[in-house]
């Protein structure tokens, strides 16, 4: 019994999911559409952005929204030299943990920069809005150095 040649075929597993978001995520996305960023106060008083629905320590529902700034500081970053097809940018960029002004907990988003050497932990960045905001996380198109 011979081994036949290998048969390969590419396929796409895809669906556009229709997600209901609930009041907390919904509030954040609604504010994004209006080009505002809100966080939520956790049980220990820390401001979390984007807002979590439930507190990690007490498991209680969170509800106290806090508007935060659109600028912040890079807490950590990863420099992507070769963006993948799914990535939001087609030229080198950074993923970063960004602590926005008025927030305590960093959020993760992408940072546009010309070179890795331009990005640093502690660097200030500001949100760049998409041309059209629709209430989706990518309404913040990216951050760029402030």
């Amino acid at each position: 019994m011979s081994q036949p040649e290998v048969l390969q075929q590419s396929f796409e597993l895809g669906f556009t999911y229709t997600r209901s978001v609930g009041p907390v995520v919904g509030r954040f996305l609604t504010e994004l559409r209006n080009r505002n960023i809100v966080g939520i106060k956790a049980s220990d008083g820390r401001v979390v952005v984007p807002p979590m629905e439930y507190d990690p320590d007490t498991a209680e529902e969170l509800s106290e929204f806090v508007e935060v700034g659109q600028e912040g500081e890079i807490v950590s970053f990863a420099w992507v030299k070769e963006p993948r097809e799914a990535h939001p940018m087609d030229r080198p960029f950074a993923w970063a943990m960004i602590r926005l002004d008025g927030a305590d907990v960093p959020m993760i988003h992408c940072v546009a920069a010309n070179a890795e050497s331009d990005v640093a932990t502690g660097a200030r960045v500001k949100a760049v809005w998409a041309d059209e905001t629709i209430g989706f996380i990518t309404d913040i198109r990216c951050f760029e150095l402030a």
Binding site: Q9, S10, F15, Y17, R19, S20, E53, Y54, P56
Partner: protein, 387 residues
């Protein structure tokens, strides 16, 4: 010998086509909070969480326990995710029970869910794959030929499935959580409904629902202290067999018969129709009631349909062995949760807490789930009395 364990809290969501007011976390959370409230407990009282759902493709969230950690108060606790196809809700309850029955945990929370409105189950189940013929027309397409073979063998009248469809919807009308509320449904309405997968009509099929179900399971000591009556777990069993093999009995799978025999033996049941007071059995297509009546030993082979037609399984007709008093899968089907709903509804019955669909004086009940190509089975028997 397994340690004793009992259900001390049950929580469900209202089942509906689309819960458009909550996130996935919010849906799961709601059932969990309801279960904690029912048990008179808080998050701190829970030692571990066991979560189940059907394929991740239904919501497009891979291994969702990772994202649901906080919604279920799991930070710092063990969290386990079970997936055994359509039987998963039942299997998840059994894995949760094993946490307590093994003596490893005193009290755990288990949750199963599906937010089917996020996608389309037909799509997820019949997603084209290279080199395959792609003739898979969803679950109904798979089960219709098996039902046809049952009809041929049993020579059952054509309206048995119609009768089950009506009976379960009338049961569902007693259950405010049930998705379909059809108190005025008639045999004629079912018969005239669209034939989807001949011989399965639209109204002989389950709906597609969003929903979650949760239970708190505790050890003997804590169950005895529980504020509401516990449902004692009297037997647990699982069986699996391959989807296809030469000579496989698809109408009445061996795995189902073996699983039932195992769980009955543990619970001391010798005649299920006589010994059990009611059963919550996974019947997603109406004809599966007579088929499972035989498979589970409530009726001899070929005669399950007679029980259905006599009204033995109907609350409204005062039957001696009501099946699916909650309305069953035919009234609500959040796939990943459907098995756990059967297990939880069986527990509600023996706790005397089933409201308008309570089977009077129910002391011993069967919860049943199946999945895959009717190849994965999970069952438990719960009782009002401690074994």
């Amino acid at each position: 010998m397994a340690n004793l364990a009992a259900v001390v809290g049950i929580g469900q969501t209202k089942y509906t086509t689309k819960r458009d007011d909550v996130s996935i976390a919010g849906l799961v959370r709601e059932a969990a909070v309801n279960a904690l409230q029912d048990a008179g407990l808080t998050w701190d009282d829970i030692e571990a969480v066991i979560i189940g759902k059907a394929p991740d493709m239904f919501e497009g969230v891979i291994m969702p326990e990772i994202y649901l950690t906080d919604a279920l108060g799991c930070n710092g606790k063990p969290m386990l995710r079970v997936h055994t196809a359509g039987s998963v809700g039942g299997s998840t309850a059994l894995v949760a029970a094993s946490h307590v029955q093994s003596g490893s945990f005193k009290r755990v929370l288990t949750v199963a869910f599906e937010k089917q409105s996020e996608s389309n189950a037909m799509w997820a189940l019949s997603n084209p794959h290279p080199f395959s013929t792609h003739l898979n027309a969803g679950a109904g397409g798979y089960f219709a030929p098996i039902i046809r073979e049952y009809m041929r063998r049993s020579e059952a009248p054509h309206d048995v499935g119609i009768k089950v469809a009506v009976k379960d919807r009338l049961h569902g009308a007693r259950n405010p959580l049930a998705h379909l509320q059809k108190p005025d449904i008639t045999m004629q309405e079912v018969e005239e409904s669209f034939m989807l997968w001949d011989p399965i009509r639209f109204l002989e099929s389950c709906p597609s629902s969003d929903g979650a179900c949760a239970m708190v399971i505790a050890n003997e000591e804590l169950a005895e202290q529980a504020p509401k009556p516990p449902a004692w777990i009297r037997g647990v069993a699982m069986r699996s067999e391959p989807t296809m093999y030469a000579g496989r009995e698809e109408v009445s799978p061996q795995a189902g018969r073996d699983c039932a025999a195992d769980v009955y033996q543990q619970a001391g049941i010798t005649d299920p129709r006589r010994d059990l007071d009611c059963a919550e059995v996974y019947v997603p297509f109406s004809w599966y009631e007579p088929m499972w009546l035989e498979n589970l030993g409530f009726a001899p082979e070929g005669e399950g349909w007679k029980l259905t037609m006599e009204g033995a399984t109907s609350l409204d007709e005062g039957g001696d062995i009501p099946w699916n008093p909650s309305g069953g899968v035919l009234s609500s089907n959040p796939i990943g949760a459907s098995g756990m709903i059967r297990f939880a509804e069986a527990a509600r019955q023996v706790r005397g807490d089933a409201g308008a669909h309570q089977v009077e004086g129910a002391k011993l009940a069967l919860g049943h789930a199946y999945g895959g190509g009717a190849q994965f089975f999970s069952m438990w028997v719960v009782g009002a009395e401690k074994p």
